[in-house]
Each structure stands twice: as structure tokens, then as C-alpha cells.
């Protein structure tokens, strides 16, 4: 279909495309080992040998950023997947059937969103312990309400439309109505929610790791690296700059993408 006048979608797509491509490459190949130390090359500035310089142990920062972004990316994808799947389940049932269960679940979701998510993630992690998978679990659960709310709204909107009524009249089963008739109609909204959620997941994970409650050494994510780099802000500023730059580019790309998707969805609805 025509994509005239939607530069956000293109720019966002290009930035996040490049970032994701780099991250995927980083899973299989990095210029140096992300944990390989080279005593002869400590605290070096960016050069052709070390694109983004080296840190105080002589580790190549470009390789570290690649693998750290990889960790963050993996966590964000898992978090969004958990939030999305359970959000769709809860939101679709609440939106379509309504009733007391809907009221209760909606209030529960509201009260979860009322807390600062970092605080809640802190509580969860301190109960179940640290570690990559616990972080994913904690953030994933916290991401369910935002998806559930969006999906619920869309299902409640579609529930009383004539095409859903005629589907009921023909005798289409409830599950089929929910997932074959209504769900495809929520896709534009859901897609932009997924990209926003992805951003939030990257940021939340980075904040948690920055505070030291996320990914634990020797594994590194963008957040824990940003935390490390503070110490060397004077001697190796390129460390903090490249990690921060990677976070900023990821977020920027996906924000633009989400905005672009939203505009396209709006335009489609106007047609």
C-alpha cells in the first residue's frame, strides 16, 4: 500500500534495522572476544584497530557494546513476548466478555501501573533473586498490564461492530471470534504497542542493571556497562559515550518506528 508522507516509519525502520542487524551479527561474531583482555592496549581511544577504543582492562569496547546490546535485546524481546502473550489473553477475554471479572482484572492492572515499574521490579527481584531469567520474569509480568489495557480497549470496540454480530449470528465459536475475527483488527495498534513496549523494556533493563539489580557479571548488558563506565568517565569517556549512544540509537529507532506505525494505523482507520 501507499506509504506517502510517513518518513518516521522509514527513518525509524532504517535505524532499528541497522541496530538489530548489528546485534544479530554480534551473536555469532565480534571483532574481539567481549571479555578478552589485552594488557598492552588499556584505555585507548577510538582507532582503526579498536573502533570504539578499549576499557581499563584492554577489552575492545565495540565488541563489548555488541554483546551487551545483544543481552539487552534478548531480554527486551522475551519481556515483550511475555507481556504481549498474556496481555492479549487477559485483554481479549476482558474486552470481549466484560462483566465482574473484567472490572476486577482492569483494576488489578491499573494498580500495577500505578506503581513505578522499577520499584516493583526491585521488589520482585529481591524476592526471587537476581539473574537474567528472573529479570525477564519480573519485567515480563510488569509489562502485562499495558498490553492488556490496549488489547482490552480494542476488543471492547470491536465486540459490538456489525461484522462481529453477524459472525455470532452465523454461529462462529467464541475462540474463533476472538482470535480470527477480532485479533487481526487490533494488529496496527498492537504493533505500535509492541515497539513502544520494546523501548520500555530496553530502558527498564538498563536502569535495573545500572542500579546493580539486573544482569550480573561476568555477563554484561548495556545498563551494567553504563554503570561500569562511570568510574572511567575521566580516563575513557568514549566508553560511556558508546554505551549510551547504543542505548539512545536503539530507543530512537524503535520510537520513530512506533510513531510511524501509529500514524499509518490512524490513516488506515480514516479510509
Amino acid at each position: 500500500m501507499k506509504e506517502k508522507g510517513n518518513p518516521l516509519l522509514y527513518i525509524g525502520g532504517a535505524i532499528s534495522g541497522v541496530m538489530v542487524a548489528l546485534i544479530l551479527v554480534g551473536y555469532v561474531w565480534t571483532p574481539y572476544g567481549p571479555t578478552a583482555m589485552d594488557a598492552a592496549a588499556k584505555n585507548q581511544g577510538p582507532s582503526l584497530l579498536h573502533l570504539l577504543g578499549t576499557d581499563n582492562f584492554g577489552r575492545d569496547i565495540f565488541s563489548r557494546v555488541l554483546s551487551g546490546a545483544g543481552t539487552s535485546f534478548f531480554i527486551a524481546v522475551c519481556v515483550v513476548a511475555i507481556g504481549c502473550v498474556f496481555g492479549i489473553l487477559i485483554g481479549s477475554l476482558c474486552g470481549y466478555f466484560g462483566g465482574p471479572a473484567d472490572v476486577i482484572l482492569t483494576r488489578v492492572c491499573d494498580s500495577i501501573t500505578a506503581f513505578p515499574s522499577i520499584l516493583l521490579a526491585l521488589v520482585v527481584v529481591s524476592i526471587i533473586g537476581q539473574g537474567t531469567y528472573n529479570v525477564i520474569f519480573a519485567l515480563g509480568v510488569l509489562f502485562i498490564p499495558s498490553f492488556a489495557r490496549i488489547v482490552r480497549g480494542e476488543f471492547a470496540r470491536c465486540r459490538d461492530l456489525n461484522y462481529i454480530r453477524s459472525a455470532r449470528l452465523v454461529g462462529v465459536g467464541k475462540v474463533r471470534i476472538l482470535f480470527s475475527h477480532i485479533l487481526p483488527n487490533t494488529m496496527p495498534v498492537l504493533l505500535s504497542a509492541v515497539t513502544i513496549g520494546f523501548n520500555n523494556a530496553i530502558l527498564s533493563e538498563a536502569s535495573m542493571s545500572f542500579l546493580g539489580i539486573g544482569i550480573q557479571p561476568p555477563y554484561a548488558s548495556l545498563g551494567s556497562m553504563l554503570s561500569d563506565s562511570q568510574t572511567y568517565l575521566g580516563s575513557a569517556p568514549w566508553y560511556a559515550l558508546s554505551v549510551g549512544g547504543a542505548i539512545a540509537l536503539l530507543i530512537l529507532g524503535f520510537s520513530l518506528l512506533s510513531e510511524g506505525l501509529q500514524r499509518r494505523a490512524q490513516r488506515d482507520q480514516e479510509v
Partner: protein
């Protein structure tokens, strides 16, 4: 006309509101239909006219058993002598699922009814698309690529494709241009002959009713005030309200 009716409605009363109290406030129960009785004979197009808010749409919802969706209840007898009737809605823009192709939309009732292979279903869809004057290539189109008249053809087709005996058409042409109206009415008449259908044709437009219906019931504030053949009704309206409607349509 002496065959058994496809639908008989006896002493139907219907109400909105008065359901379980929400937040301690009980909504007032409002009676919408008062002792409504009529029948639709096999192969007949029964017109149902009346001003907006008189209960026409409520009646069709009651017949389809959809009143509960709208917070309504009813008592009385509704006797169906056919498989579940289907419905054609007024607004052709909300009656087709925008996320799917026309082919998918037409195939869905057949998938649900079962008994046909994928190949047979596709053939049935193509046949139906030809019958409604659009052609098989429309199976790949999406609803938002179609005009109002084309959409209404598709929604009629999706109601007819499972071969019901009775179709409830709630103002099926009032959202369309006059020239398109005539085409859609012709399509309804053609399909009726082809599939031996009966219609309950709900409309506020007496000219349209005169063109297509054989018998008419006139409804006012939930009561049936007059019931007659089209010719009699238009020539010798008995009830003052009917005369008023006729005068307004001149």
C-alpha cells in the same frame, strides 16, 4: 401463500433495562414492543415500516435472539420453521471485517457450517460472487477497497451463502444512493427467486417498501397498528398513522 409460515411471532413483548442493579441504581424497565403478532409466509417479502424508535430494530433483534446483547429481554412466542435466519445490516461499512479479504469473509459461514471441503467452499464463494454481479476476482479484495453498494452486495451474499430460509434486512438500502438502491433491491428479488428466500424487510422508506414487498405491517410505538397487502395498504390506508406516513412519503 397457503404454505406453512417460516416465522410466526405471537404476543411478543420486549423490554430494555430493569436488569440487575449496577452500583445500587436500578435502571427503569422500558417496554419497547407491545403484544406483537405476525407471521411471514414462505417466499414472502414482508415489509415492516414505522418511524425511527418505534421498535423495528428491536423486533429483528428479538427474532434473532440477540436482544441479550443489548440488555433487552422479551416474552411471548417466536416460532422458527427454518434454520437460523440471517441478517443484513443497514451500514455496509461496519458489516464486513476489514482485516480479511472478501473471499475469507464469504467462506467463513461455510467453514462454520461445515460439510464442505476447502475446494468446494472456494467454488461456492466464486459462484456466489458471480451471482451478486461482482465476479470471482473480488475474492482477493479487501472491504475498504469497495464502494458502499459493493459492500452491501457482499454482506447480502454472506447472509445467503449458507442457504437460510429467512433473511432479516434492517434498512438494507437506506445508506445507499438512489441508483444503487434500485440495484440492491433487484439483487434481493433475484436471490429470493434463486434460493426460495423469505424476507422481513425493515424500512422507513415507503417508496422502497412499495417496490419490493408483498405485504406490510405498520408499527407505531411498539404496537402493530396495521397489516395488509401492499396494494391495499397504499390504496386504502386504515389507520391514521399509516395515512400520516403515506402523506409524508408523497
Amino acid at each position: 401463500m397457503e404454505t406453512e409460515p417460516v416465522l410466526e411471532v405471537r404476543h411478543l413483548n420486549s423490554y430494555y433495562g430493569g436488569g440487575p442493579a449496577l452500583l445500587g441504581r436500578k435502571s427503569a424497565r422500558k417496554q419497547v414492543l407491545h403484544d406483537v403478532s405476525f407471521h411471514i409466509a414462505q417466499g414472502e417479502i414482508l415489509g415492516l415500516v414505522g418511524e425511527s424508535g418505534c421498535g423495528k430494530t428491536t423486533l429483528s433483534r428479538a427474532i434473532l435472539g440477540m436482544l441479550g446483547d443489548y440488555g433487552g429481554t422479551c416474552d411471548g412466542e417466536i416460532i422458527h420453521r427454518s434454520r437460523r435466519p440471517q441478517m443484513v445490516f443497514q451500514d455496509p461499512f461496519s458489516s464486513l471485517n476489514p482485516a480479511h479479504t472478501v473471499g475469507w469473509i464469504l467462506e467463513e459461514p461455510l467453514r462454520v457450517t461445515g460439510g464442505l471441503t476447502a475446494e468446494q467452499r472456494r467454488a461456492a464463494v466464486e459462484e456466489m460472487l458471480v451471482k451478486i454481479g461482482l465476479g470471482p476476482e473480488f475474492a482477493q479484495r479487501r472491504p475498504w477497497e469497495l464502494s458502499g453498494g459493493q459492500r452491501q452486495r457482499i454482506s447480502i451474499a454472506s447472509a445467503v451463502i449458507t442457504h437460510p430460509k429467512l433473511i432479516l434486512a434492517d434498512e438494507p438500502v437506506s445508506a445507499l444512493d438512489v441508483t444503487i438502491q434500485a440495484q440492491i433491491l433487484q439483487l434481493l428479488v433475484d436471490l429470493k427467486k434463486e434460493y426460495d428466500l423469505s424476507y422481513l424487510f425493515i424500512s422507513h422508506d415507503l417508496n422502497v417498501v412499495y417496490q419490493i414487498c408483498s405485504r406490510v405491517i405498520v408499527m407505531k410505538k411498539g404496537h402493530i397498528v396495521e397489516e395488509n397487502t401492499v396494494d391495499e395498504l397504499f390504496a386504502h390506508p386504515q389507520h391514521p398513522y399509516t395515512r400520516q406516513l403515506l402523506a409524508a412519503a408523497e
